[in-house]
């Protein structure tokens, strides 16, 4: 690859790439993000290569493997250009038909299209409700780019923002542009990015660092990962722009070892950028030097905290340290270090290209631009969504997410991962931005959004997140290490029916202290799941403690399965399916659950035919005495 020595060279290369590409040449785009990869996108891609050869189309059709498109529920996603036909849930077996119908025959294969609630079929991706209500300004390029090809990125105008700031803007102007845009950190804290940059820029010291935080560790969140895997150059371009504005010549990317594809694609991207002269000495002939080192994390959630991450980069155990002097002033090796999240860095080139005013026009008063959420849980359309700040939770869950699975009732949504809180149904019309969420006792976090239905026990949810945090707290400071552990012990007790009067107050007492006294943000936010569930679902805690009842039938110690002898039709289905042979009775005889043997797996409840509805769940009441063994069933009238 030739080195680019000026902005003109970059423009030339882009023009060259553009003319070499025929926009009418058919192209099969296969989503190879993590979700689709798990669905078998690799095999789908192989099948396409095979089928294209078989049909004599090699050289006439391009194949592009891209990063995550976002609609992970429906993977593997395949888009056929130039018509932009979007096929969902494509399996390797579907490929011969796709090739013969669409690529050879020029027709749309109806059965793989998206079907809306009215049964209408939608051909183009942009018209699918999941995509229609999003504004994918950062994430949208994922589907157009092979992450292993810098040319794909440059052809779309990539590194144009870098050339613009290097040759047309001073570092101060660049900084002002970011400040004016109102961009706030996408990693959770929501600190104004421009202000942070300025602090590092003005901090004393010649050597300054810029850092990408790709240590995403929230259960259920994978936005940073997908961006790093699918469009690493956008993150890199943002980082170089930031370095220029701050006056840094050395960058670090902290990426989890558990994200092998992100590490691979990032390393390829760095090498390609170096070869083109977009990284290293004298970038684009501008005289500005900057290079990046990749640091692979060893899998600690707490290393996502900025001071812990910097300690880890220094080669020590990733533990937070007091931050009364900001890391922006004294970070890695006590030098000014500016750390931002993957999503923040990837937003920077967009702002430079389209202007701060355009960006500030999106969103709410205090939160500008868009946010990428990992929409997961009991929602129909799981996936990665990018929405403007200020959209309501209702719009995200119902318009984009397609509502709750199996027509169940919505109960709450957990935002911000383990450090966030649960927002109840009554507040579903809350606009989503940094300030609104923290007002409700939750937080934006890294963009995790876990939707819960009526079958979710809120005490159990708090317990789940605290269990995670007990393991993931670094253990350095006492409030976080001991406080979370003791809160977990209390929650375990409550879930096992041994809750005591006063437990809720005790939980609140510990939670307040942990929030106030902890060393870092992990501890300071760790009580959120407990406090928010107590705030909005106190009656559920009380039911567990006072009447030993789990209203969601989740806590196994507090519930039983019982077969109503009046309804049981002795069909043997539950009896055959019970994995522990805990169901007695027989042909023509009422089935009885042996409460001692029963492991409460719920299989009988699931398999009992709906028209009988004989298996019921009980909680907070005594299980009725079983009918004598050998009782004949009562056939329902009309059967």
């Amino acid at each position: 690859m030739p080195r680019l020595n000026s902005a003109t060279d970059l423009k030339g290369l882009r023009r060259d790439l553009f003319t070499r590409r025929d926009p009418n040449k058919p192209c099969v785009t296969i989503c190879s993000g993590t979700g689709c990869h798990a669905y078998g996108s690799e095999k789908v891609a192989e099948a396409f290569i095979r089928e294209i050869q078989k049909n004599g189309l090699q050289g006439k059709v391009d194949i592009r493997r891209t990063g995550c498109h976002g609609f992970c529920e429906k993977g593997t996603i395949v888009i056929i250009s130039p018509e932009e036909i979007c096929y969902l849930r494509v399996k390797p077996d579907d490929v011969p038909e796709v090739v013969s119908t669409t690529l050879v025959g020029g027709k749309v294969l109806e059965r793989l299209l998206f079907k809306d609630d009215d049964g209408r079929k939608i051909v183009h991706e942009g018209e699918i409700p999941f995509y229609k209500h999003q504004s994918r300004i950062v994430f949208g390029n994922n589907k157009l780019i092979d992450p292993k090809s810098i040319d794909d990125y440059i052809a779309l105008g990539g590194y144009g923002a870098l050339a613009k700031i290097l040759f047309e803007m001073s570092p101060e102007q660049t900084l002002d542009e970011i400040k004016k845009s109102g961009l706030r950190g996408r990693g959770g804290g929501g600190f104004p990015t421009g202000t942070k940059w300025e602090t590092t820029r003005n901090a004393p010291g010649e050597i300054k660092y810029v850092i990408v935080n790709c240590d995403e560790g929230d259960p259920g969140a994978y936005g940073d990962r997908s961006l790093m895997e699918g469009n690493p150059h956008s993150v890199l371009e943002g980082l170089i722009i930031g370095a220029y504005a701050i006056g840094s010549h050395q960058g670090f990317v902290y990426v989890r070892q558990e994200y092998p594809l992100a590490v691979e694609n990032l390393s390829i991207a760095l090498n390609q950028a170096r070869e083109y002269g977009l990284l290293g000495e004298n970038i684009l002939g501008s005289g500005f030097d900057f290079d990046v080192k990749v640091h692979c994390g060893a899998g600690a959630f707490v290393s996502g905290e900025s001071s812990a991450l910097m300690t880890a980069i220094e080669g020590k155990v990733g533990e937070p340290r007091p931050k009364y002097i900001r890391t922006a002033v004294s970070g890695i090796w006590e030098r000014p270090s500016n750390l931002n999240n993957v999503k923040t860095w990837a937003t920077v080139p967009v702002i430079i290209n389209k202007g701060a005013d355009w960006f500030a026009g999106i969103g709410t008063k205090g939160s500008k631009g868009t946010m990428i959420f990992s929409l997961v849980g009991k929602v129909n359309n799981t996936g990665l969504v990018e929405v403007p700040m200020g959209i309501t939770l209702r719009d995200i869950i119902y318009k984009i997410g397609g509502g709750i699975r199996e027509g169940k009732k919505f109960k709450g949504v957990q935002t911000g991962g383990p450090s966030g809180g649960v927002i109840p149904e009554s507040l579903i019309d809350t606009p989503v931005d940094f300030d609104e969420l923290s007002e409700l006792g939750s937080m934006m976090g890294s963009g995790g959004m876990i939707v819960m239905d009526e079958d979710t026990c809120m005490v159990d949810i708090a317990r789940y997140f605290l269990n995670f945090l007990t393991e993931e707290s670094c253990g350095k400071c006492i409030p976080c290490r001991e406080g979370i552990f003791q809160m977990l012990q209390i929650l375990n007790r409550i879930c096992e029916g041994e809750g005591k009067e006063g437990d809720i107050d005790l939980l609140e007492e510990i939670a307040e202290m942990v929030k106030d006294f902890s060393l870092c943000a992990l501890g300071a936010t760790a009580p959120n799941p407990v406090l928010s569930t107590i705030k909005y679902f106190r009656e559920e805690y009380e039911a567990h403690i006072k009447t030993k009842r789990c209203p969601a039938f989740t806590c196994k110690k507090l519930m039983s399965y019982y077969i109503d002898p009046k309804k049981c039709q002795a069909c043997m289905i539950c009896r055959k399916n019970c994995p522990v042979d805990a169901i007695g009775g027989g042909k023509g005889l009422v089935h009885i659950v042996d409460q001692v043997k029963c492991t409460k797996c719920g299989t009988c409840f699931e398999v009992c035919p709906a028209r009988f509805g004989a298996v019921t769940r009980l909680s907070g009441v005594r299980v009725p005495k079983p009918v004598p063994a050998g009782t004949k069933m009562i056939r329902e009238r009309g059967e």
């Binding site: 009364y324 393991e471 707290s473 006492i478 290490r481 106030d516 006294f517 060393l519």
Partner: protein, 233 residues
């Protein structure tokens, strides 16, 4: 070095720039309880017991006085309601690990464990006991690393599984030369969980032990037991 003036508990105090609130308070005779702090060692900020409330303009914040540098015009309250309420719960949590009946009274420590707990009206903990004696304040680890420059002691594990371990291979070489000095890991330990003897070396000789051995297992009876088992009683 410039001087700054701050107010601690209503007292106007002059302090050197770069000093921490804790030092400034101590110099003025104001007592703030600490567990993980030692003037010879770097501040660590782990026990959080020295947390105080600072007021800047209309905003108030809780910070650890051992790591927060003094500022001109800073108003500090070392025993505000918020501080005292939190400290009490914090001590109760420590108590769950550090059983008061088993706590060893250390003559060289400025206060006794009992006195500290009595001050906050605590006799017992409401929490599930997890009596390991060691409260992971890190004083021994920092002492060994910073003063002895030996790094015989270290932390392993994360979260509730965190523990202090010794590295026997190093201990064999270093511990005998260190023993008997005016300061030592057993001397800085506020809980008395580190016995002042050669147990670690004896353990290393037994070959039964893993490379890193948790300090928490060194309670006195246990050590006698281990020493007997390796025939070194």
């Amino acid at each position: 070095m410039g001087e700054v003036t701050l107010t601690i508990d209503g007292k106007e105090i002059k302090a050197k720039k770069g000093m921490m609130i804790l030092e400034a308070a101590q110099s003025a005779g104001i007592h703030i309880p600490t567990l993980c702090h030692h003037e010879e060692l770097t501040s660590y900020g782990a026990c959080r017991l020295c947390t105080v409330e600072i007021i800047k303009g209309k905003k108030s914040r809780l910070v650890t006085s051992c790591t927060y540098p003094v500022e001109d015009g800073l108003v500090v309250k070392t025993e505000s309601e918020r501080v005292m309420k939190g400290r009490k719960i914090l001590l109760e949590l420590i108590l769950a690990r550090w059983h008061i009946d088993k706590a060893i009274e250390l003559d060289h420590w400025p206060w006794t464990a009992k006195a500290l707990l009595e001050n906050y009206g605590l006799e017992q903990t409401r929490f599930q006991e997890n009596t390991t004696m060691c409260i992971l304040c890190g004083l021994c680890v920092r002492y060994c690393a910073e003063v002895k420059k030996a790094n015989v002691l270290g932390f392993v594990g994360r979260g509730i599984k965190r523990q202090v371990v010794i590295y026997p291979e190093l201990a064999v070489k270093v511990c005998p030369t260190c023993q008997g000095g005016k300061m030592g890991c057993s001397f800085v330990c506020p809980t008395g969980v580190i016995p002042n003897d050669f147990a670690c070396i004896a353990l290393y000789g037994s070959k039964k032990i893993p490379l890193a051995y948790p300090v928490r297992e060194y309670d006195q009876d246990n050590i006698r037991e281990i020493l007997r088992s390796v025939g070194d009683s």
